[in-house]
Symmetry: C2
Subunit: 465 residues, 2 copies
């Protein structure tokens, strides 16, 4: 009897492992077919060309943003979304204006010399003749806070801590330096400075200045400009010899009115569980310099491609696939906040999972995942199995951790979050700069990312957490 | 007693695992320090700039190759190699000339129209008025072989099978199509064709033609030209409507004299086992179009950087680190053959391991390894452990398989071979084309590759196989 039982158990185990191997083989084949399709029939590269070349920079609330929302909504409708709608979002705006000049005035060494500069988003403007002052160079906010505030009054604070080139993941290098840009000018203003300069957030050694938001909150804005790396290093070198050097900043940027922008939302309705939602998304707004190719046109067209790929291949998920192109990530995630508010209030819907692409259009490396603690372990174990299926296409990494920007607002609702991670080496060469253009994107790299997002959505839907 | 024995064994196991964990931690720290150093103190990007911008294309046996050998030898000496020598290699040469014209003649649709074309290496030339003929389009050599030879005589054979875009690894797509370029023109000539056209070996959809060697062996060369993809597709579309369309090919390329080129060889002598050699290398020759940035300037400066990194950090391996920059990979691996001959004859030296970088300068993916069957398993197991240490820097892949070009000649000597594998998506956008220029290389990606090669050499030397 015991022997028969053992034999039976053994037979069951063998059958189960065969079934499991068979199921895994099916997954491998289906995922392979999705990659093949993306690499040969995708439109996403041409969509991105249109977003970059015909529309270009598109800050939330700008006419260009409206054009981008209309274009992407139309494309989603054309390729067969069941529903497409525009969700209104009130967003703050800011006008860059036409002048952003930073000049060294009467240096003993170089005379009067322009530096390569760009206004940070939500920088204050200046009178027509600009503001002038001596410069205090610091490497951190903490260094500034330790100073006698009397030294800072009436001065221009220059934040010059480089991103740490030894971080293999450049996002870690960015995370370790970006407080200078986001919070430095406000802190300087609170201490009485009349202007702020920030070394550009890039690891590339050139003189292209990189913009990005700076947050004054309730503080009255002061002019806040990013300097190209070569300009920042020149200024620092001069200050070492001429500590009383004066800088003139002239800029006509200014806060604008609140406007309505729209999240673009397109559904491919689920066949069995239509109220369970798998979101794929990126943010449609992009800084007004450059074309928003890597940040984040790539993520938008990849999310759109997921829906199109399912349509082309005749795949309908059990759950609803929802493309969300978020309005206004750059200036405070207003689009994400509005979508999360909607999701919280529509209780009959469950936001099952969300996949975001907002780390550029380079070749795939993998995903970072995040979820509430009670879901984290189980979801991570499942996802590790899927990673094996995706690895031949370059998706070799699957870590847990803070994974995303816009979709992070869904975490508290129990949504399992995945941030797509392409290779990071080149991202900050282009980020928020005039160099973030279509030509820096490789068609296959873009398509591989989209295919991986589609495959992940399909695996999530098939196997669940 | 049994109890005590068990306890003792347990204690030993714990101690061993602690020692092993400690050793692993040491490796992780040392490898981390090597990456930090490469990302902040490397010269390899500037060396590559010089090779590309001041020297440019450098076919083996050309004056430019001589300049490249002199430059790299000097740099290796400057950064502290113990010995640097130039190993002479006799190489065949070929002159591209100044004319390479392919024209559709008197099409009903488009009249007379030039196609974007470039002569393949070792193509035959034509009379001043060119050669003209009707075109036979085929998708493979097998298709050609099945034809009645009478149909081929006096014609121009057009090989037009695309690289397979569904291969995630583009080298596999290249491997599946390149026989058309390497062997197609010879086969066409054997069957009486007067010329050959080959669709460029690229996955990018543009009209940049890609050169590369074609091999006639004992067959008298005929003119053999690569067409840009758009030109190939136009020609194919026209042939569908006008099968009797005529093409004129005019080219003044011709075989040159045999010349002497040099392998550049630099040693950093081992402290304990100086006769055991760890080779790091790439090939210094590059096609005369473009600047040889990815193919293979990147690999050369990475190999040089390994030596320089050890010098900067004061690391001396137990074994001798040898940089070999191979002469003439592109036209038949004459440099590799000469080095392997030397290695075979110098029996007191043992070629312990070899690491080659000849797959471009993109971000790291890992290594492919190869060895004689008796060494393969053990070496692969060891290397898998090292892969874990290298994974945080992007080296997530370690496969066995045909791994390399130049160093493959050492396999029979028992050398364990490693081919460095950067991401492959962009490689064939540039390969053998005018677009293979310095600007397509990212400094950090180049440095990460070099650091990974250095770390691998260090781990091989420390732990052995």
């Amino acid at each position: 009897m015991q022997f028969l039982k053992t034999l039976l158990l053994l037979a069951c185990a063998v059958a189960a492992s065969q079934t499991s191997a068979h199921a895994q083989r099916e997954d491998v084949e289906q995922v392979g077919a999705m990659f093949d399709d993306a690499l040969t029939r995708s439109h996403c590269y041409e969509w991105l060309r249109y977003l970059c070349k015909n529309i270009g920079g598109r800050p939330g609330g700008s006419p260009a943003y409206t054009a981008a929302a209309a274009y992407t909504a139309q494309m989603l409708d054309t390729v067969g979304a069941d529903t497409v709608w525009l969700q209104p979002v009130r967003v703050p705006t800011w006008q860059r204006g036409t002048v952003a000049r930073v000049r060294i005035v009467n240096s003993q060494q170089v005379g009067t010399q322009a530096l390569s500069a760009i206004a940070l988003g939500f920088s204050g403007g200046t009178p027509k003749t600009g503001i002038s002052g001596e410069v205090i160079e610091v490497k951190s906010l903490a260094e500034l806070d330790k100073m006698n505030p009397e030294r800072i009054k009436g001065k221009i604070v220059f934040f010059n801590r480089p991103m740490d080139a030894t971080k293999a993941n450049t996002f870690h290098a960015y995370g370790g330096a970006v407080d200078q840009r986001t919070s430095g000018p406000r802190r300087a203003a609170e201490l009485g400075a009349v202007g702020a300069l920030v070394r550009s957030m890039t690891l590339r050694h050139d003189d292209v200045p990189h913009s990005g938001v700076t947050m004054f909150n309730d503080q009255k804005p002061i002019p806040a400009m990013a300097l190209g790396i070569e300009s920042a290093e020149l200024l620092s070198a001069l200050l070492a010899q001429e500590p009383n050097l004066r800088i003139n900043i002239t800029a006509d940027c200014a806060a604008g009115k609140e406007q309505t922008a729209h999240n673009v939302i397109a559904d491919l309705r689920g066949s069995e569980l239509p109220n369970e939602i798998i979101v794929v998304g990126g943010h449609l707004d992009a800084w007004d310099v450059g074309e928003g190719a890597h940040d984040d046109g790539a993520g938008c067209v990849q999310a759109m491609e997921v829906l199109h790929l399912f349509r082309r291949m005749g795949i309908r998920l059990r759950r609803t696939l929802r493309v969300v192109l978020f309005a206004n990530e750059e200036n405070g995630m207003y689009g994400a906040t509005e979508y999360a508010r909607y999701a919280r209030e529509h209780k009959k819907e469950r936001q099952y999972a969300a996949i975001e692409s907002d780390a550029g259009g380079a070749a795939p490396r993998g995903f970072v995942m995040d979820a509430l603690p009670d879901k984290q372990n189980n979801a991570h174990q499942k996802a590790q199995k899927w990673r094996e299926i995706l690895a031949p296409y370059g998706f070799t990494d699957l870590h847990t951790g803070g994974s995303a920007a816009d979709i992070s607002k869904l975490r508290d609702l129990g949504t399992v979050l995945f941030g797509y991670r392409p290779d990071s080496q080149r991202y900050f060469d282009y980020h928020h700069a005039a160099s973030d253009v279509f030509e820096t994107i490789n068609k296959r790299e873009l398509e591989l990312g989209a295919a991986g997002m589609a495959a992940l959505a399909w695996l999530i839907d098939k196997h669940g957490f």
